[in-house]
């Protein structure tokens, strides 16, 4: 048997198809979820894909956070449903307060698209078990509002609890505090990151690397073995 992994489409979501493809490539069953549906179709995990939901108007993720599908996701995430927020998905997770801190416009004020080197800081989440802590990976990054900020106290807490999941290496592409590229909640089921692992699952396209596949195999193994 395999696991059913849902990918949410909000108006303005762009990377839903790529995320579905990444889920399929990893061997799980991809399931499309629609923003107006509260029903999660019995999926075992959810990916909030990248893009510009509602045009990123107001603030990135601010309007999507209030959609019907998010009501269910917020509730179930608190009960342990694995949720991965990629880019806009990460922004939605912070707006929904499932993850602490907030996301602001890049410090250089430009959209940035680059191949980004990251360090995976923890393998102790539902989405990173197939990596080893300290492992360096290359993942495409593309965003306008990728600057992660939080109060000092919150940052210290994240560090102390090992909840900084990914850090930018070589270049901090957006001014994120403490080079943070992604974080997890305390339980490890909710993970958000700015770079796009779903764009790095095939050698042919994108960066030509498959460093992102581990996100999707991690969750698949966890769900199948559960």
């Amino acid at each position: 048997m395999t696991a059913r992994i849902g990918v949410v489409t909000f108006p303005g979501t762009l990377d839903d198809k790529d995320s579905l493809r990444a889920v399929r490539t990893a061997g799980a069953e991809p399931v499309s979820l629609w923003h107006r549906d509260k029903d999660l179709k019995q999926v075992d995990a959810v990916v909030l894909a990248g893009g510009f939901s509602y045009g990123d108007y107001l603030r990135a993720g601010a309007i999507a956070r209030f959609s019907p599908v998010m009501e269910t996701i917020i509730e179930q995430a608190k009960a342990g449903l694995p949720v991965l927020g990629i880019c806009n998905g990460f922004q939605i997770l912070t707006e929904a307060h499932l993850l602490p801190g907030g996301m602001l416009q890049n410090n250089h004020l430009h959209f940035i698209c680059r191949e980004q080197k990251l360090r995976v800081e923890t393998s102790g989440t539902a989405w990173t078990a197939d990596y080893t802590a300290g492992q360096e990976v290359h993942i495409p990054l593309k965003n306008m509002d990728g600057r992660y900020v939080a109060e000092e106290r919150v940052l210290d807490e994240l560090e102390a609890e090992g909840r900084v999941a990914f850090r930018y290496l070589d270049v901090n592409p957006n001014g994120s505090l403490r080079d943070i590229a992604g974080i997890t909640n305390a339980a490890g089921n909710v993970v958000g990151l700015m770079p796009h692992p779903e764009h790095a699952v095939e050698p042919l396209v994108g960066t030509g690397r498959t460093d992102g596949l581990g996100f999707f195999t991690s969750i698949l193994k966890k769900l199948v073995n559960a």
Partner: protein
Amino acid sequence: MTLDTVKHAGETPEAEQPWKELGLKEDEYARIREILGRRPTGAELAMYSVMWSEHCSYKSSKVHLKQFGEKVPANDAMLVGIGENAGVVDVGQGYAVTFKVESHNHPSYIEPYQGAATGVGGIVRDILAMGARPVAVVDPLRFGAADHPDTRRVLPGVVAGIGGYGNCLGLPNIGGEVVFDACYQGNPLVNAGCIGVMKHEDIHLAKASGPGNKVVLYGARTGGDGIGGVSVLASETFESTGPAKRPAVQVGDPFQEKLLIECTLEIFREQLVAGIQDLGGAGLSCATSELASAGSGGMRVELDTVPLRDSSLSPEEILMSESQERMCAIVEPDKVDRFMEICEKWDVIATVIGEVTDGSQLEIFWHGEQIVDVPPRTVAHEGPVYNRPYARPAWQDALQADDANKLARPANAAELREQVLKLVSSPNQASKSWITDQYDRFVQGNTVLAMPEDAGMVRIDEKTNLGVAMATDGNGRYAKLDPYTGAQLALAESYRNVAASGAKPLAISDCLNFGSPEDPDVMWQFAEATRGLADGCLQLGTPVTGGNVSLYNQTGETAIHPTPVVAVLGVIDDVTRRTPVAFAEEGQLLYLLGDTHEELGGSAWSQVIHDHLGGMPPKVDLDREKLLGEILISASRDGMIDAAHDLSDGGLIQAVTESCLRGGKGARLVVPDGLDSFVFLFSESAGRAVVSVPRSEELRFNDMCGARGLPATRIGVVDGDEIEVQAEFSIPLSELRTAHEATLPGLFA
């Protein structure tokens, strides 16, 4: 305020009308009266004036563009030719590709961000209207001098606007150009292209047929955007109480367009439309008259049903509004409900505004009163045609006589080295990544090649790995020296770029950017360039599928360089065999393909070192280009080369620098016998490329070139971490990298 109805117009033949303010000529106005047999109503006058503008009617360019339809190469790929929103070509496996380039030059100067953004929005809707899913965009750009303060205003805004719109739509940006030249100072060129993919059976056309079919307007509400001249009508003739001056600039809403795309594709999937047209320039005037003109019957529109953003708009203004993110579909009555449901699903407003009639007139009503009653063809397709006078400019001979080959050359190896660094760090030759990194090239997960490759390439079928490639090129300096040759060089370069990536060039689109057609010098440039392009396409076997003409690109009396931009579309049956530009493998052999002559006219070297423009551009040999293309494609198919980079502006040293930096490897070069090292490095002879050949393939590769008669000269080897030109100089890659990559951030960051 009295409504100027058809009846009223009939009763008041003598009423003064602001035809002049709307840009019509006296004889054009007379012709409208003759067509209608009475004076036009205000609404009719507004429609004719925008549809008969240069931008919409191509009245100055038509006589020359005709050649693209006459000199058509035998080519089975063409499915839909010039005249539709965009041309369509067959790329095999049941797929069809539509693509086109358009300009948004003037708005981008006034409001760089929104001007450029709405340029992307407009071309994407054109592609969508053909029935295709847009899959990639490209953006050929030209700005004034890189260090001019106004370029600092215009460039970052344009780039942010293209990125802001395209990124938000989820369309990878896979190529384009950035050129700086003082001639574009008051008139930057912002061209944008889009590629769309569909199955053959999904091709849609812009025509309204079937009496009783509904006309559905969907997308954004209509506001007072981009009305420009029509405010004259509203304020002067009709004592309007609305705001006197409407803005001529539109604001784009990429989020709305993204919804429009998804909604429209779902509507196509369920086969709910009989005809479809995007709303772009001239808004509803254009969409209704073109749909009706191309169809079999007439059309009746209730204009007061159009959803408005601003209730003070007059009917004339509604007809002219260029509000973005709107489409117009012709829908059979029993499909309207389902159509509306899909629009509702995507939060897109849709309204039935009229229907197709069995008459022959386009009739428009405002609260029950008729304000338009015209034969649609006279608005949309039978506008004025001008055979404008043209003549070879008096200064052309002197310009060509000012030979760049006679300019002072570097006196020694140290100067040669210095000039190489100067060249690769000059704004035109420097890395464009500060710009292209603001564009999403990964989205949709199908990008096989993107900037800074020779051509962008996207996969269009995940199972078979079928893909398409595109490059855009144009060199205004060459075209200024000789517009006929310049246009062919643009075509040749773009063709070469596509072939270098491993794809087979199929067809082209173009964007012809010129000065005022009322200037005989400019008109001559235009005539020569179109003739050159048409002849070139015939010879290369790549038909022109469509394009765009932008005239009046000038500041005061001074026209820009004639700038024909050519976009070549190629197809590749298996994207896994694409050829990148990077020299990545130590020890591989570098071969120069083609002949190098002493050709420095219009070259980057003459511009960077001498600020000079004169002489003759490089010669074109299109048969040679074709042969080079075939060799590059064969070599890619048979695994004989690992990298290829075409040679163009900046010459060999520019290409080698780019390929070395991309691959992170150095090169040792030997100047071939009989060539001067300066000419070897800087000449811009056409029909050339440099390739990297694995040693194991050298024999086979040489044999192939020899057998087919393409000169192939071994010029060096991939090696080390510097570029060394034997017996002349060497430059560490790190030094080259800084020179090449620091320029744009230094100017614009």
